[in-house]
C-alpha cells in the first residue's frame, strides 16, 4: 500500500470521466506515487538522442530522462538551460517502450504544462535547468502527470511532497561525475529520518510539532513520515553517479534506485557502462556481482569529473530555501 500523507484529495489534476460503462479517475496520488513505485530498484538514465535512449532501454534502464544537453554540458555551456526540444522528446517516446521523463525549470508552470501536453510519463522540476522562480516551486497538485523533485535534506523533500511531488531524488551536484554530494544528501535525509522516528516512537507530540515548524511543513506530513521511518514517496539517489560501485553504494544507503546523468553518455564506454550500472543496482547486495559489473567498465574511460569544492555554480542550492 502507498502512504498518502499530504494527499490533496480534491486536487485540480484529478480527472473523472467515463470510459464505456466504467467510471474512471486519473491523476490521483495512488496513480502518481504508484508509478514511481514501479521504478524501484531501477536506473533512470539521462539521454539527449533517440540512439542514446535505445542504448539505455537495451541496457535495462527503467526509464529515460530527456535533456537538451547532459548536465556536464549544461555546466560548460553556461547561459540559460531550458526544457528539451519537444520534437526530440516525442521521437524518443515513439522509439522506446519504457517510461520517458523530461525536465522543466523550477517554478516554470508553463514548461511543465507543455511537457504534460506532450504526454511525458513524469516531469522533473529540476535544478539542472536555470530556475524560473526560486521562491515558489510548481504547485504540482494542479497536474495529472506525476512530478519528481530534488532535495538535499528532509525539509526540502517534505516541502516538495506537500506541493504534490510523487517522487524525490537527492540533488547531489549534477554534471560533476562526483558522487560525494549525493552521498552527503542521502545521509542527511537518513539522519533526520532517524531523528523524527525516535521522537515519534517516544510519543513526544510537542517535539514533533517543533520539527514541523523547523522544516516549514505541516504536522501531518511530519507525523506520517516519522511513523514510517522513511519518506512517504519513492526516493532515488542522483547527482554524480559514474560507476557501478557508485550506484551500489547509494543503494546500500537505503535509496530506492538511482538516476544517472552525465556519468554514462559522457564516458567513452557508454554501452557497457549502462549495462554495468544496471547490474550493480539490481544486485547491490552481492559484492561479487558488483565487482563483475565494475569489471565491465574501464576507469580510463570514465568522465574526468570535477572537484565539488571549487565549483562556480552549485546547482544543488537552486530552490533549496523555498
Amino acid at each position: 500500500m502507498i502512504p498518502l500523507s499530504g494527499d490533496l484529495g480534491n486536487a485540480k489534476g484529478i480527472v473523472k470521466e467515463k470510459i464505456g460503462s466504467f467510471g474512471t479517475t486519473r491523476g490521483t496520488s495512488t496513480l502518481k506515487r504508484g508509478f514511481a513505485h514501479m521504478l524501484k530498484n531501477g536506473v533512470v538514465m539521462d539521454v539527449t538522442t533517440v540512439e542514446q535512449a535505445q542504448i539505455a532501454e537495451d541496457a535495462g534502464a527503467v526509464a529515460v530522462m530527456v535533456l537538451d544537453k547532459l548536465p556536464s554540458d549544461v555546466r560548460k555551456a553556461g547561459g540559460v538551460a531550458r526544457t528539451a526540444s519537444i520534437r526530440i522528446i516525442q521521437e524518443i517516446m515513439d522509439s522506446v517502450t519504457i517510461p520517458v521523463m523530461a525536465k522543466c525549470r523550477i517554478g516554470h508552470v508553463y514548461e511543465a504544462m507543455v511537457l504534460q501536453e506532450t504526454n511525458v510519463d513524469m516531469i522533473d522540476e529540476s535544478e539542472v535547468l536555470t530556475p524560473a522562480d526560486e521562491n515558489r516551486h510548481i504547485w504540482k497538485w494542479d497536474f495529472t502527470s506525476p512530478f519528481v523533485n530534488g532535495a538535499r535534506n528532509l525539509g526540502e523533500a517534505l516541502r516538495r511532497i506537500e506541493e504534490g511531488a510523487a517522487m524525490i531524488r537527492t540533488k547531489g551536484e549534477p554534471g560533476t561525475g562526483n558522487v560525494a554530494e549525493a552521498v552527503i544528501h542521502i545521509k542527511n535525509v537518513n539522519t533526520e529520518l532517524r531523528r523524527i522516528k525516535s521522537i515519534y516512537d517516544a510519543g513526544d507530540e510537542q517535539d514533533l510539532i517543533s520539527v514541523a515548524r523547523e522544516l516549514k511543513v505541516s504536522y501531518s506530513v511530519v507525523e506520517e513520515t516519522a511513523s514510517l521511518g522513511r519518506l512517504p514517496v519513492v526516493n532515488f539517489a542522483a547527482g554524480g553517479i559514474s560507476t557501478p560501485a557508485d550506484a551500489a553504494y547509494l543503494m546500500t544507503l537505503g535509496c530506492d534506485g538511482v538516476f544517472v546523468g552525465s556519468g554514462i553518455f559522457k564516458a567513452d564506454d557508454a554501452k557497457e557502462r549502462a549495462q554495468a550500472i544496471v547490474l550493480a543496482t539490481t544486485f547491490w547486495e552481492d559484492p561479487d556481482k558488483v565487482k563483475e559489473a565494475q569489471k565491465m567498465i574501464d576507469e580510463r574511460q570514465s568522465m574526468l569529473g570535477l572537484d565539488t569544492k571549487n565549483l562556480e555554480l552549485r546547482m544543488q542550492e537552486r530552490g533549496s530555501t523555498a
Partner: protein, 205 residues
C-alpha cells in the same frame, strides 16, 4: 519448515507492497507461512508460490535471464508451482508481447501464459486510471482496479480463463495455477486477490 514459502521476485519493481499484501493474505486465511524477497535460482527453488510484481517488464525479464532465475522459474512453473504475475509480471509470464506504439517486441519472456499482450494499451502515465472492476468467476464482485501504464490481453488461448474485462479489454486471466492481472492489487489495501492466490498454494499442498 512448516507452512508455505512464498517468494516475491525482487529483481525490480514494487516488491515491498507485494510482501505486505501476501503476508496479510496468509494471516487472514489463518495459514502458516513465510514471504520473502527472492532474486537467485537457489532462493526460487525452495518456493511453493511466486509473485512477479509490477515494474518494467523489459528490466525484470532481462535481469532474470542474466543470473539464471528465469530458467529456474520456468522449471518451477512446469512442475505446478502457482504464480501470480502483476502488470509487468503478467507480461513476463506470457508467450508474446507487443507495444502499442513501438510494435513487436523482442524481450525475454517465460512463454507460459498462452496470451498475446499489448503493452501500454491504455496510453502513457497521464492516462493511467483507477476504476472499479469485478472478477465474479473467482467470487470477487467488486475490486479497486489501479491501472498504471497498464497492458491488456489481445489474444487468449483456449486454456486461458478470462477473469475480468474493462471496456471489452481483457485485464485478468487464469490458466491452471497461473494468474495474471493488468492492474495492481498490491497498491490498494484490498487483499482479496492475494488471498485467492495464496489459496491456490494451500490447495496444492
Amino acid at each position: 519448515m512448516s507452512g508455505v514459502n512464498i517468494g516475491i521476485l525482487a529483481v525490480q519493481g514494487d516488491v515491498a507492497e507485494n510482501i505486505l499484501a501476501t503476508k496479510m493474505a496468509i494471516e487472514e486465511l489463518g495459514m502458516e507461512g513465510i514471504v520473502t524477497e527472492v532474486k537467485t535460482p537457489e532462493q526460487i527453488s525452495d518456493l511453493d508460490g511466486l509473485v512477479i510484481p509490477g515494474g518494467e517488464s523489459t528490466v525484470i525479464g532481462t535481469l532474470s535471464l542474466v543470473n539464471g532465475s528465469l530458467k529456474k522459474i520456468k522449471e518451477k512453473i512446469a512442475s505446478g508451482m502457482p504464480v501470480f504475475g502483476i502488470c509487468a509480471g503478467m507480461i513476463v509470464l506470457s508467450k508474446k508481447a507487443k507495444d502499442r506504439v513501438v510494435g513487436e517486441m523482442d524481450q525475454p519472456l517465460l512463454d507460459f501464459l498462452d496470451v498475446k499482450i499489448e503493452r501500454n494499451t491504455f496510453g502513457r502515465q497521464k492516462d493511467s486510471f483507477e476504476s472499479e472492476i469485478s472478477m465474479d468467476k473467482i467470487g470477487i464482485s467488486k475490486f479497486p482496479g489501479v491501472f498504471i501504464r497498464a497492458p491488456s490481453i489481445i489474444e487468449a488461448g483456449k486454456d486461458v480463463e478470462v477473469l475480468s474485462k474493462f471496456n471489452e479489454k481483457i485485464i485478468a486471466v487464469k490458466q491452471g495455477n497461473i494468474i495474471g492481472t493488468a492492474f495492481h492489487p498490491e497498491l490498494t489495501g484490498d487483499i482479496s486477490l492475494h488471498k485467492y492466490f495464496v489459496g491456490l498454494i494451500k490447495k496444492k499442498n
